[in-house]
Amino acid sequence: MADVKEDRVLDCRGQLCPMPVVRVGREMGELEPGQVLKVLATDRGAIVDLPAWARDTGNELLHWYEEDGHMVFYVRKGSDEVP
């Protein structure tokens, strides 16, 4: 699980709600299905926001962890169709 390689990195550190979800949504639009986005965030709300957003948009939160005072999320893009 820990050796999933990301295709892109999005740094949302220092940004609070709603910017992490907004930016992840935008960035996902530019990825191909199956590609993985690595998101860096300091917003504690993202722990709940990102999985909920992923579920609603047909994407998959692979896993997340904390390091150095910020959080790292790995999100894989589902298909281009919104469920």
Binding site: G14, L16, C17, P18, V21, V22, R26, V82
Partner: protein, 190 residues
């Protein structure tokens, strides 16, 4: 588990099969229901603190692939006024829930300059904490297709003109809002 009907074979419909088919169709209908992807928010307050919730909720809805519309009425018009930067303020008067740096007597909160101080303290605290500014949230809303609708009645009563509002703002009334809101699962009054 899906019910497979082989072409040519005549199916024996048991109660169980029928129940299964009905369950699957209902689930499919719920998944496809457009109302699940619609959010209609009414923004009726015109102070800086209350400008954030409708814009943040609208942006989050759009980020989740939902159709979102924010209907600005009464003092909420301040948020989409061209001069929103100056109009949006916050006052400590009669605001016992507002966190204060030091405990403050009520009469003190109504002294000249307190409103200006509270407003600029809120703006700088939010900026320092990394909250998007109102201007940025308005841009996010417009870029992600959130409809910003201004209440025509309020405009008339308060003596505004359509040209007083930001580009991209639409104008409507309660009928327009109800027509959208009745087909939206998320309806909020701020």
């Amino acid at each position: 588990m899906s019910v497979e009907l082989r072409p040519g074979a005549s199916p024996t419909l048991t109660h169980e099969t029928v129940r299964q088919i009905v369950r699957e169709e209902v689930e499919r209908a719920f998944r496809r229901d457009p109302a699940a992807k619609k959010a209609c928010i009414i923004a009726s307050k015109g102070t800086l603190d209350w400008a954030y919730p409708p814009l943040i909720l609208g942006s989050a809805a759009a980020a989740a692939g939902m159709e979102a519309a924010i209907f600005f009425t009464f003092y909420g018009l301040n948020i989409i006024h061209k001069d929103f930067r100056r109009r949006l303020k916050v006052s400590p008067v009669g605001n016992p829930a507002m966190p204060m740096p030091v405990p403050m007597a009520d009469t003190f909160t109504s002294l000249p300059g307190m409103k200006r101080m509270a407003t600029s303290m809120m703006k700088s605290k939010f900026r320092k904490k990394g909250v998007a500014a109102i201007e940025e949230l308005l841009d996010v809303c417009r870029e992600s297709g959130v409809r910003l609708i201004a209440c025509a009645l309020t405009i008339e009563v308060f003596g505004f003109r359509e040209s007083d509002f930001l580009d991209g703002v639409e104008f409507g009334g309660a009928g327009a809002f109800m027509s959208e809101a009745r087909r939206a699962h998320v309806t909020l009054f701020v």
